[in-house]
Symmetry: C2
Subunit: 271 residues, 2 copies
């Protein structure tokens, strides 16, 4: 599992304030903590008004790169902000995101093509998030038609089949899992990603629901997630799911995390 650290997101109030105040220490700490916790990529989203976003995203990128040396996932609907940030990154960034929406394809796909970026691709279009598996698959097919035309390799796509809240649609989880399986069957080279928190919207103890959803999604082929790697129970669940699904050779990642007392594991002293 590839964890894309989600915490540097200006739509979260504290982060937004830090971006506006140019509080580099706060941002750097978020970066370091996520990388220490196991994030391999960091999402960076300025979340500020469109006219100042390019400048803010550039500042974020510069600040994060002073603190850690990892791939960034530049997160914005604004091609101008993405283009400005791409000029500053040390490693080829992931872009977040394209979708079946016409303006996203026209605005972001050229950047993906030009810079050879991996990209998050959402299974929605100008009509919104479709309810059925078949409709989402149809969007993914059209989208992959476009990315192939732009010579983007399927392996650079991180498809988010999207998930609706189970509180309002009882089969929301199953629909998400079926869509994941369907995409992976038809396009075996693509990666699958997902935002974890939508499934639990409106329900109590959301972290519990989110982490169980993560484990079940991994069984459906999910191989990356935009998530908070400092959430210990989530990370323990992920490690255990990798283990049970046979993705952890010799149980090494699980037993190492346990032995080092990571993610809240409490190792017993050995004699």
């Amino acid at each position: 599992m590839l964890i894309i650290g989600e915490k540097i997101n200006g739509t979260r109030q504290k982060v937004g304030t830090a971006v506006l105040a140019r509080d580099a220490d706060f941002i750097k700490e978020l970066a370091v903590k996520q990388v220490e916790a196991g994030a391999v990529i960091l999402d960076v989203n300025a979340g500020t008004p469109v006219e100042r976003e390019p400048e803010d995203l550039v500042w974020l990128v510069d600040t994060v790169q002073e603190a850690v040396d990892v791939q960034l996932c530049l997160d914005s609907p604004n091609p101008r902000a993405l283009a400005a940030a791409i000029s500053r990154v040390k490693r080829t960034p992931m872009l977040n995101s394209i979708s079946g929406e016409r303006h996203r394809i026209e605005g972001v796909l050229p950047l993906v093509r030009e810079h050879g970026c991996p990209v998050v691709a959402l299974a929605l279009d100008d009509a919104g998030i479709p309810k059925t598996v078949e409709e989402r698959l149809a969007i993914v097919r059209r989208l992959i038609g476009e990315t192939r035309k732009a010579e983007v390799p399927d392996g650079n796509l991180y498809i988010d089949t999207l998930v609706l809240p189970v509180a309002t649609q009882q089969d929301a989880g199953m629909t998400a899992f079926e869509a994941m399986r369907a995409v992976k069957t038809e396009f075996p080279e693509v990666h699958l990603t997902v935002g974890l928190s939508n499934i639990s919207f409106g329900l109590p103890d959301r972290h519990l629901i989110n982490r169980v959803f993560l484990a079940l999604a991994m069984a459906a082929g999910l191989d990356s997630a935009i998530a908070d790697p400092t959430e210990r129970e989530l990370m323990r669940e992920m490690l255990a799911a990798e283990l049970v699904l046979g993705h952890d050779a010799f149980c090494r990642r699980y037993t190492t995390a346990y032995r080092k007392g990571r993610y809240g594991f409490v190792p017993k002293p050995t004699n």
Copy 2:
């Protein structure tokens, strides 16, 4: 999910001691606690030497029935003990277990037939637990051939496809899940059950692995488990998995458990 409470098992040292000492209070408390926690069936296993087991199992059944009014799962390899206990139960009991082993079929299947009992059926035979899905499926096919000949309805079977430790066989979890799916596809009327703890044998923090295995097995069709319903994190995981898998209409079981503060949920005060 049907939870079969596992705690009244004489092979656990404290329970074994209580059985030998005829400590009815201890046994009754185990029964009451499991039923309060959500067990719908209680497994009762005397675990004592074969010559005294019938008498011990009868005492256990009588004792448990003085405390709670639920279905029992009579758990013994010994047909004499099962027959003695069947004569005392107030409700048709589940029997645990038959398998592809010749002596189990000959000893236990006649009781299943005569008393119309649901029965746990293990996917192993005289050669032991097979490694592959196909071999386990072959045993299940032979076993269901026998149960159908004895006019046992498929819906009375609780098939345990068995699970090996992931520490010694990396694909142990996936093999278990594939076997579950294969059985359910070929015999849609049967139930699936499983012992949770084998998967984590030899690894640290076994409860974490066991509960993640449970959630993933539920996605593969598991609809019952012999487990400890007083284990709060396990039960929360199970509730969340039912919710995410779309088996909890209107999220009612999940939100009720939360609101009542069951299983360690800490409800926030509503205004």
